[in-house]
Amino acid sequence: MTGLDYIAKRVLFALATVFAAVTLNFILFRAIPGDAVQALRCQHCTVQFKNALRQDLGLDKSKWEQYKLYLQGLAHGDLGKSVRSQRPVWDELWPSIKNTIPMVALGYLFSVLFGTIVGVVSAWRRGTIVDKGGLWTGLAFYSMPPQWLGLMIVLFVAGAVGLPTSGIKDPTLGILGDASTWDLIVDRLRHMILPALTIGLVLYGEYALIVRSAMLETLGEDYVLTARAKGLSSWATVWRHGFRNALLPVVTLGALSLGYIIGGFITVEYVFSYPGIGLAIVEAIDQRDFPILQGAFLLLAISVIFFNLIADLLYFRLDPRVRA
């Protein structure tokens, strides 16, 4: 087998998984008692309206027909229509996605940076105070429910640092006079920091633990002894022979934990009323707007599959053994 095989196999696998996610999505939403329309909660939802909606959504057709329609729609990028607002799901979700991406990216960056540093140093100084500190803070943040950590930050941190705890934009901004672009950016950032910090801290715990244990495992390998025998200082050994090898499991496990991360940001966005995709999911649950929920879940699933594919390809870059 060649390296090309590896790539081909991973891409095929990703495509197959997308298909599996799509199908699962369809089955889940058709398996509920009643149908998507019945559970709808809104003021103008009369029986006539609901029946019209059923016809409109194709719910009166057979399941198989519906599946084909669903696949056809998806193939054209059509995620369906929100039953509440009657707007396409994609149009409903796109603004939320735009809000979520920078916030999660900020939190992710924070966690990867600090998690890696703490994990590496912790493993290097194994058994010392530094290690114990890293290990226990990691474990502590890892053990806290993200929504609760968010509440703790609102309760104890937000006031002290004077950052907003809700929404994405200061409602007073622009009322007293035109806000400059700079003001808008700063305001956006200020709203982003606390939710990003919450996500960052939860993930920090997870990454610090993963990196530490991957590093420890690597430092037990024979080539580390060889490196020491060659006269490398202990830091040089860690850097040149520990770090890159330890990255291999970190990349994989990091991608696999994405499902959990997403669960985290749904609740965190809810706590901070941050209008991202998580909040959209919460609102869709509340209003029983299943097409939105379905669309959001599919988008999340595809993004996780995508990042797993990225991790696999990164692995290919990092480990010459799969390139053989």
Partner: protein, 337 residues
């Protein structure tokens, strides 16, 4: 050879033209490009016979197919072609259900004494297990059999060992327990796959002596080993394998003292001697054994052979009696001898 063995009626195991291949996965890209299917030619036409009360050593370097041969003979791997005759009956196509009763009579001990015993089983349970699986004897009878087998394997007195766990035993003792567990069913043949290579030098001889003693009692032993000194010292006959074929076979004395095939000669020359005064110049073959996927045309040894002639690239030699052999049972697969 096989005819001779059958004539005196004592061959317990006969193997004829055994072939075992493993397929290699081509991968997605390879399949799409319609690359040829590749196979590992692990065993390519091996024939030998093992008599009762005889120890035959299959000798060769790693990858030569000796372990595959042994496992296939016991039907732990499926042969692609060839005949395996056990006590006169062809077992190469026997369905698994019918094999079960035969398995009692063919036992195997493995190389690694640290992996060969269930760490949660006491010695008694390990040795008794074959009897339990085959539902033989009452509890008392089984206990007596366990005692007998342990004593036979040199764990004397057995009572000292019965209740121990493997981690309370030394490597040599573990290997003896493994031998006892295979003796308890009174097998006709025993395959010993590198039985001492993981043991300390000082205890190896003891384990080999046990095998030697068992052979004296009529057991046929097929020993797989890479160690020619051990084979020379303990086996009755030696068969040397190279890339899935037997290239030379004969009595241990003939093969060691009058080697005919150039591969055997090279192999013998690189075995370090115990006596520092016997410093011979080893005849070192360059390179490593080619991988068994692409086997050279003609004689499979010719690319590394010091005496190869152009004909060697064409002719795939058969095992036959070399002109310099002193015994009719000594055969080598080389057109130059």
């Amino acid at each position: 050879m096989i005819e001779a063995a059958r004539a005196n009626g004592s061959a317990i195991l006969e193997v004829e033209d055994l072939v075992v291949h493993y397929p290699i996965a081509r991968g997605i890209v390879g399949t799409m490009q319609r690359r040829p299917k590749l196979r590992v030619h692990a065993v390519e036409g091996v024939s030998f016979a093992l008599r009762r009360g005889e120890m035959l050593a299959l000798v060769g370097e790693s990858g030569c197919g000796k372990t595959t041969t042994a496992q296939t003979v016991l039907r732990l791997l499926e042969p692609d072609a060839g005949v395996i005759r056990f006590d006169g009956e062809d077992i190469s196509g026997l369905p698994p259900r019918k094999l079960r009763s035969l398995r009692r009579r063919m036992q195997i001990i493995y190389q690694d004494p640290y992996e060969s015993l269930d760490p949660r089983f006491r010695v008694r349970a390990t040795v008794e297990e074959p009897l339990v699986i085959h539902r033989l004897g009452t509890k008392e009878e089984r206990e007596a059999e366990v005692h007998r087998a342990l004593a036979q394997a040199g764990l004397d007195p057995p009572d000292l060992f019965l209740d121990r766990y493997p981690h309370q035993l030394s490597g040599g003792q573990r290997q003896r327990v493994a031998i006892a567990a295979s003796l308890v069913l009174n097998p006709d043949i025993l395959v010993a796959d590198e039985p001492v290579s993981m043991l300390d030098v000082s205890v190896r001889a003891g384990v080999l002596a046990i095998l030697s003693e068992l052979r004296g009692k009529g057991l046929g032993i097929l020993m797989i080993t890479h160690d020619l000194s051990t084979a020379a010292r303990f086996a009755d006959r030696i068969a040397v394998m190279y890339l899935g074929r037997i290239v030379e076979e004969g009595s241990a004395h003939d093969v060691v003292n009058n080697p005919q095939h150039p591969y055997t000669q090279a192999l013998l020359s690189v075995v370090p001697k115990r006596d520092p005064r016997e410093r011979t110049t080893p005849q070192i073959l360059r390179g490593e054994t080619p991988n068994p996927v692409h086997i050279p045309q003609g004689c499979r040894f010719h690319p590394r052979c010091p005496i190869a002639i152009p004909d060697c690239k064409e002719i795939d030699p058969e095992l036959r009696r070399p002109s310099a052999a002193t015994s009719p049972a000594h055969r080598a697969a080389c057109i130059r001898v």
